[in-house]
């Protein structure tokens, strides 16, 4: 019998006033009983609308049906047929705009908690099943993947399953991309990312860290000297934008990338046990309205800041952050200063931030993006006291690959031009996907692009070697 409850089975989470002082995961995940109960809400519809909302087309009703029967191992294997990182996606995907948006149960009541179930199944498998995947038979061809973020890892996993000898080149000392340096521990424990990466290694994927492609080796050298038959570029959008206002070079001003890299990748929240420091102060202003801004604000609170403000130039309705993260941030006592824009950062005599001058904004006509354009209200300037400012207004692709690969076409934003259906770039044998192509987007879209490119690379190399 299906469970006809209109609401999702609630997922336990840490209390707001407890969790805003630690870096442990906020949401605690389903128990076996909760997962079975929630899985029973799925009606297993014939036309499976949920699948079309998933960029990697997980066989959702099938894995949920197995979960409802308590066959968690089989459920995991079903997800694995199309997805390389289920423990990650179950946690960070914006399901409300993807799979769950199309769930029939969502027409009246809440949709089936697909993300929570995916997460449960992946966590359960990792905890209970030790089996190593069988290494696929090798086809003798080599593919290089540049960047070990969600796009690169997905592409690498798919190609390894098809028998390719895959090497991933990563600039940082730890693979995972934004999953390790950007998204904080309290949303995505790093042990989970490491476990997912280990699964790929068991499939035969080689990961070379500390390799900055464009510096230590160029894309051309990968193809012509290192013997790779094809290259996938998944280097993301890691170049931070600043506001270009007075005072941005003052001490205490960070890009969100710097702030989050110190905290997440370098574990500055465990300073001085770990060597990398981070300074937070008492009053923190975070500029921006995306997930990165939420992550930075919630991290600052956990590091002991008394007052943390989100300063955003539009209203809550236009915020690009996930609804769940905005909700969590509010619960954790982050203050929202909406319809405000910084115009100047003020410093003290020692070169440290002392306050931020903001101007009030009102919404005018919709702009090219379809969102109402914020317009400053003349004469409405006011100051917010601050010791630290975190700039989270967006990132663009790093120009390193572009600058060292002359025949790779890019657009005016520095994004690599690649065909949407295949991931093929202007350069033969070179494919690209994820934020490097689209600019900053989501984890799951990057994974979808990695998947598409893997299929095209397979097709390209098979036809080439016929």
């Amino acid at each position: 019998m299906p469970n006809m409850s209109l609401e999702k089975v609630r997922m336990p989470e840490q209390q707001p006033d407890v969790r805003n002082k630690n870096f442990e995961e906020v949401t605690l995940g389903y128990t076996e009983e909760m997962a079975v109960e929630e899985a029973k809400r799925c009606l297993n519809c014939k036309h499976k609308p949920c699948i079309k909302g998933c960029p990697v087309m997980v066989k959702i009703p099938e894995f949920i049906a197995l979960t409802a029967e308590g066959k968690f191992k089989e459920a995991y294997e079903k997800i694995q047929e199309t997805s390389s990182l289920p423990a990650v996606c179950g946690r960070v995907c914006p399901q409300e705009t993807q799979c769950e948006k199309y769930c029939v149960r969502g027409i009246k009541g809440e949709p089936v908690a697909i993300g929570r179930l995916e997460r449960f199944v992946a966590d359960w498998y990792m905890k209970n099943i030790a089996s190593k995947p069988e290494k696929p038979e090798q086809n003798g061809m080599k593919v290089a993947v540049v960047g070990a973020g969600p796009a690169g890892l997905t592409c690498a996993g798919d190609l390894a399953r098809l028998g390719y000898d895959v090497t991933v080149f990563e600039a940082f000392h730890t693979p995972g991309g934004v999953l390790v340096y950007g998204i904080p521990e309290f949303r995505l424990p790093k042990a989970i990312v490491a476990a997912e990466v280990d699964k790929l290694k068991e499939l035969g994927v080689k990961i070379m860290t500390n390799m900055v492609i464009g510096k230590v080796l160029s894309v051309d050298e990968l193809l012509n000297e290192e013997g790779f038959d094809a290259v996938f570029i998944g280097t993301g959008a890691g170049l931070p934008s600043f506001m270009k206002i007075e005072g941005e070079s003052l001490n205490g001003v960070y890009s969100a990338n710097e702030f989050l890299t110190r905290i997440n990748l370098m574990k500055a929240y465990k300073f001085p046990e770990y060597d990398t420091p981070v300074y937070v102060g008492k009053n923190v202003v975070v500029v921006g309205g995306g997930n990165v801004a939420m992550d930075a604000a919630r991290s600052a609170k956990r590091l002991g800041a008394e007052n943390v403000y989100i300063v955003y130039r539009r209203s809550e309705e236009e915020m690009p952050a996930r609804a769940e993260e905005i909700h969590h941030a509010k619960e954790e006592a982050i203050e929202f200063k909406l319809l405000n824009n910084p115009v100047k950062i003020n410093g003290d005599e020692n070169g440290w931030v002392s306050s931020v001058t903001c101007i009030k904004m009102e919404l005018g006509e919709p702009d090219a993006s379809g969102r109402r354009r914020p317009v400053p209200v003349e004469g409405s300037e006011f100051d917010i006291e601050a010791d630290v400012v975190v700039v989270a207004i967006g990132q663009t692709p790093n120009p390193l690959i572009k600058n060292t690969t002359p025949d790779l076409e890019t657009n005016k934003w520095g994004c690599i031009v690649a065909k949407e259906e295949t991931g093929a770039t202007s350069k033969t044998g070179v494919y690209a996907g994820g934020d490097a192509v689209t600019g900053a987007a989501t984890v799951i879209l990057a994974m979808g692009a990695g998947k598409t490119a893997a299929a095209s690379i397979d097709e390209y190399l098979k036809s080439k070697n016929k």
Binding site: H173, K215, E248, S249, Y254, E258, P272, V278
Partner: protein, 280 residues
């Protein structure tokens, strides 16, 4: 892991390590740097490439013990390994058409200035090297530098090597004596580079400085290393570390270099306490 194949103690606080890193050795050029991490809990710290051996596949860095990380680094010996070693980073220096140049190294900056002098000499330039140290006990790589230039002048703040004064004094003397430099390169503490730039600006001699801001990734993704050059924000790790010294906002760079002063102190104290416990 990256093996240390050779270690040499240059003076009480400065050591040299030669590290096995064949990919980096193949590509390294003067002016570039590496970022290393000593161990799992370590921080990422940039060091200029002092030398490289493409055939042996090694890269040499020279470091001064100034805090927690350089202290741990100095405890390693030949045969030990570093957790991470990444590079070559930054833009290589370009010296086309330079005829006569003064290369100035201050303290540890001498080790960074050395590969630049060597490269310039190999390109046929006449190279005067002016190295400054607080006292004669701190003088490093004198023999290497002598080989890398035409004339070597070593200054000490206290005159203990018989040549008292700052590098700027020697530079002024040489310029006034008609040296006819078409380029000056200054590498060392920010205050020293600033002083050299203030001097050469008056003479209209092009001056390149190597900036040494705080860095984390070293690949252009965080902007922690940003410096203001000619009124624009530049990232030293990807746009530099070499910049036109007359365009650099040194006061802001000096303030930024102090951003984590308190934390650096805490980290060092933490390490000392841990060691105290181990010894007990």
């Amino acid at each position: 892991m990256y093996k240390i194949v050779r270690k040499e103690v240059l003076n009480d606080s400065v050591s040299l390590i030669e590290v096995e890193a064949p990919y980096i050795a193949r590509k390294a050029e003067p002016g570039q740097f590496i970022i290393l991490r000593v161990d799992e809990k370590g921080e990422r710290v940039p060091f200029t490439i002092a030398d490289y051996d493409r055939e042996k596949g090694t890269v040499t860095v020279i470091f001064q013990v100034v805090g927690k990380t350089t202290e741990s680094l100095n405890k390693l010996e030949a045969g030990d390994s570093l957790q991470d070693f990444v590079g070559p980073l930054g833009v290589a220096s370009h010296f086309d058409g330079v005829k006569k140049v003064a290369v100035i190294g201050g303290g540890l900056g001498t080790a960074i200035a050395y590969p630049q002098a060597k490269k310039l000499k190999s390109l046929g330039a006449e190279v005067d090297m002016i190295n400054g140290f607080r006292n004669k006990e701190l003088i490093i790589i004198e023999d290497l530098c002598r080989e890398a230039c035409t004339n070597l002048y070593i200054m000490t703040d206290d005159g203990s090597n018989g040549n008292k004064g700052f590098v700027t004094q020697k530079l002024k003397e040489l310029i006034d004596g008609g040296a006819g430099y078409d380029l000056v390169i200054a590498i060392g503490p920010l205050v020293m580079m600033k002083a050299v730039c203030d001097l050469t600006r008056d003479y209209g001699i092009k001056t390149i400085v190597s900036m040494n801001p705080i860095m984390i990734d070293g690949t252009g993704m965080c902007g922690g290393c940003r410096v203001t050059v000619g009124g624009e924000t530049k990232f030293a790790c990807v746009d530099g570390p070499d910049f036109d010294g007359h365009q650099v906002d040194f006061d802001s760079a000096i303030a930024r270099s102090r951003m984590f002063k308190n934390e650096e102190q805490r980290s060092r104290e933490h390490a000392c306490r841990l060691e105290g416990m181990n010894n007990a």
